[in-house]
Amino acid sequence: MSSAIRIKNGKVYDPLNGIDGEIKDICVKDGKIVDSVPDDSPCIDAHGMVVLPGGVDIHCHIAGHKVNMARKFQPESKRHDVSPRVNELRSGTGGSVPSTFTTGYRYATLGYTTAMEAAVPPLGARHTIEELHDTPVIDKGFYILLANNVCLNQLLEKGRMAEFKEAVAWWLNAAKGYGVKLVNPGGDEPWKGNRNSNVHNLDEQIRGFDLTPRKIIKALIDTTNDLGLPHPAHIHCNNLGHSGNYTTTIETMKTAEGRRVHITHIQFHSYGGEVGKNPTSKAKEISDFINNNPNVSADVGQVMFGDATIMTGDAPLTWQLRNMTNKKWINADTECESGCGILPFSYQEHIYTHALQWAIGLELFLMAKDPWRMVLSTDHPNGGSFMNYPKLIRLLMDKQFRKEQAALANQKAINSTSLLDLEREMSMYEIAIISRAAPAKLLGLDNKGHLGVGGDADITLYDDQEDKEAMFNAARYVIKSGRFFIKDYEFCSDYQGRILHVEPEYDRAITQKIKPFFEDYYTIQFENYPVDDSYVHDGEVVPTKSLS
């Protein structure tokens, strides 16, 4: 069977290679983009179509213990959103937290071919990998939660920085993780150990430790850079959702001191106002800071109106939301590693705060001078399902549509932002950046997010339509690793996708330091903790960059 394909006559957008809507052939062979293929190779006439690299989601929650709890806990949200089985393509259910197969197929239907699960306690890594195997088509990896790790924090408070770095590397290896995630650094200890309280200031001492959130943040930013990880520290800042939190966000970014850092779902961290009172927009202040600090990147975490599920390692936040909504709520602590909260949620146009969050997200996209550092996400399913991406893209590309939608939302909120003054309409090229090229680049995935020779042949073709929401809602062709997944809107065949992970070098001696900690604090044997290689049978190790 020939694995070569030629795509001709399509309008190609490939920002990493500077291609902006050129009519150009794209050739594929053996899962990669190549210079040319034999003339008799199968050919797609992409006339009237837009050709883009497959989408890359830098931050979503799609697999693992908390995601599965959120599934089990909301049967009512799935009944009217089902995905029937299509030949060998497995059936499933949707809602804001779809079943695994449905997650993979739906991402692919939108033209996304890579997605990163953003918060996994290493103890649950095995579970996450099991689910990712059942999340078809897309390539995927996950970030491990390390900012509330008791063992690491003990090393840190004692200033044992070298061991700290080795331990982080060991943990990434043991969990088969892709990156390091910080969630509400230092917040777990007061949550679990001090009557559900929290930390609120980067320089506040963390109960039981001679440590502050700032020290943890700094150490993990430095370590991820020092280890040469393809993706830097991925930070969910302290004080998520609180009025006035933008100062915490700016302080967190400053802590990087010029080194690479990624701030996630920054929309939730861009609020002014006083704690306990209505928030205001500080999108301008946040944007200005990021515009002026090229070491910082962010994804937006756009809020979309409708049903969502709050699921986060930030347990105190969900408790607070629970007390506001009085809805069913989950808390789930993971020993020595993480907290977790889950809550069904609904963003409603008429509610001031929700409308404000929606507007702030759009402000952040539109105020960013460098789209390579302000990329697309809804923090699925926290700000809304990834199924909202086409609508979000239209909001960014279509000023008129944006104004119409703003008119439906709480006017007090909308008018308190600068959204209606922002006339910018993103081009297809910019959309290709924020949904493909930039996230791939920020993730250090050299083979993804572009259509240059040697890249992974993850390619999506859309009919070029005026209505960008309709256009991005259904890719006409999806090619994953050089194979058709969708051909002329029809599913072709199933495809498993790979697990992307890193294997930073570390000194084996570190296990002698970690093992005694396990005996004291964990309930599983140290030897049973690391995920063995058999779990990532189709995995791909993404190389660390050596630092010069």
Binding site: K72, N87, E130, D538
Partner: protein, 444 residues
């Protein structure tokens, strides 16, 4: 290999939901039998030591010996021809096998359910109604200074639960182990477990809900009728003192067993308990956890949930998953005489379902996969003998707190694993139903 015995360290015991992973197994030189299971509890020891590879046929069709392939074909035929094929069991096998079972149900447009529906199904339903606050067992070991067990007898059902997770362990936050903790038990009669408790509430049978409801009212400071004393057998003064202690602790945990889930009130009993724990979070950190029985029943919940969106009682008749306990749960499906074929994996409904359900089992073709003959396999059209997970078969299992572990089998079995048999049945069903098999990813 011959001549010397083999030691497996950090082996994993799947007898109960504790899934202890510190067992040191010694396998005799013949590689057929375990001679020592260090660290295992009395139940674990018998699980390991009594395990023998019996001289059963690998498969029986209508009680007659058959080859694996013949049996796979026969089983696939039965299932593929059924209009309401039902797959059940799965709590004592690996996640890898469970995945195959869900796939079969999907490709058959059948029904799938796990033993959860007859033990902690009510817990799942309560959880769907009210949520829960929970923790992995290590967090409890490290921090819990108030530990309560409700309607369970861990000393006999989960013998190492006290020692490893909740009562005795010392931790940096609990340097004196049990002395730093308050242990409370609620049950309708004294048990081996209640002997170790600092507080024992012997409640009148069938009054769990009322007592939990009264405790919630006390936690929330709401109106409460004094008749609760008479109803539950616990004085209001005592209850008030207990609730105060729960509010005052630093980290509380409430474990609950089938004494709560399988008595009148079922999911509402559990819901009351989960809500009590949620209410307590207004004052302190409090978590709860069902003490699950089977070694991988938690894995079954997880696998079914991630593949379908629902944790048990899932029906694919319409080509997509539907969930409804009572409607698609096996005991009900069989009790109403609705299934027309049954595939049982690592379970024995023939010995514990209602008389009506068992009667129906006898009327329909049944397929069983089990390491040993069971009451159900006596009625089976096709009975497979499979290898035992954890002892002979590697794979993934989930502890009662959802922590996943990789099994470390002791020795090989001549029998195929559940996964192997189910995968073969699945592939044959796909052939029969004209479903193209899964494409594998292109070689790298």
């Amino acid at each position: 290999m011959s001549g010397s015995s083999k030691v497996i360290e950090n082996a994993i015991c799947t007898f109960c939901g504790c899934v202890c992973d510190d067992i040191e197994l010694t396998v005799d030189s013949g590689g057929k039998h375990i001679t020592q299971a260090k660290n295992a509890c009395v139940l674990g020891k018998s699980w390991f030591l009594e395990h023998k590879v019996e001289d059963f046929p690998v498969a029986l069709i209508d009680g007659k010996e058959a080859s694996l392939e013949e049996a796979v074909y026969a089983a696939a035929e039965v299932l593929a021809n059924a209009k309401f094929p039902t797959i059940y069991g799965l709590s004592d096998t690996t996640c890898e096998a469970q995945k195959q079972a869900v796939a079969i149900a999907d490709y058959l447009n059948g029904n799938i359910d796990t033993t959860t529906s007859v033990c902690h199904g009510p817990t799942g339903m309560a959880f769907q109604g009210v949520g829960e606050s929970t923790a992995s067992l290590g967090e409890i070991k490290n921090r819990a200074d108030f530990v309560m067990y409700w309607g369970g007898n861990p000393a006999e059902a989960h013998p190492r639960h006290f020692e490893r997770y909740a009562v005795n362990p010392k931790s940096p936050w609990m340097p004196n182990g049990k002395e730093d903790r308050t242990i409370a038990m609620v049950d309708i009669r004294p048990t081996q477990s209640s002997l170790i408790a600092d507080i024992f509430l012997q409640i009148k049978p069938g009054s769990d809900f009322e007592l939990l409801w009264a405790m919630r009212a006390l936690v929330k400071g709401r109106a409460l009728d004094r008749t609760v004393e008479e109803r539950t057998g616990i004085s209001l003064d005592r209850l008030e003192a207990l609730v105060q202690q729960m509010k005052d602790c630093q980290f509380g945990v409430l474990f609950f067993g089938m004494g709560l889930t399988m008595t009148r009130g079922r999911h509402f009993n559990v819901g009351a308990l989960l809500q009590l724990v949620t209410d307590l979070n207004d004052f302190t950190h409090f978590v709860s956890m069902p003490t699950r029985g089977h070694g991988n029943v938690t894995g079954a919940d997880n696998v079914v949930a991630w593949q379908t969106g629902y944790n048990f009682g899932v029906n694919f008749n319409r080509g997509y998953p539907r969930f409804n306990p009572g409607e698609f749960t096996t005991a009900d499906v069989l009790g109403r005489g609705e299934a027309d074929a049954l595939c049982v994996i690592a379970s024995d409904p023939g010995s514990n379902f209602s008389a009506k359900a068992i009667e129906h089992i006898k009327l329909i073709p049944v397929i069983t996969l089990d390491p040993k003959p069971t009451v159900t396999s006596q009625h089976a059209k096709v009975a497979f003998t499979t290898a035992t997970y954890g002892i002979n078969v590697p794979g993934t299992v989930y502890r009662m707190d959802n922590v996943p572990l990789s099994l470390r089998p002791a020795f090989d079995s001549p029998f195929p694993s559940d996964e192997v048999v189910l995968r073969a049945i699945k592939e044959r069903i796909c052939e029969l139903r004209g479903i193209t098999p899964n494409h594998k990813p292109a070689a790298a």
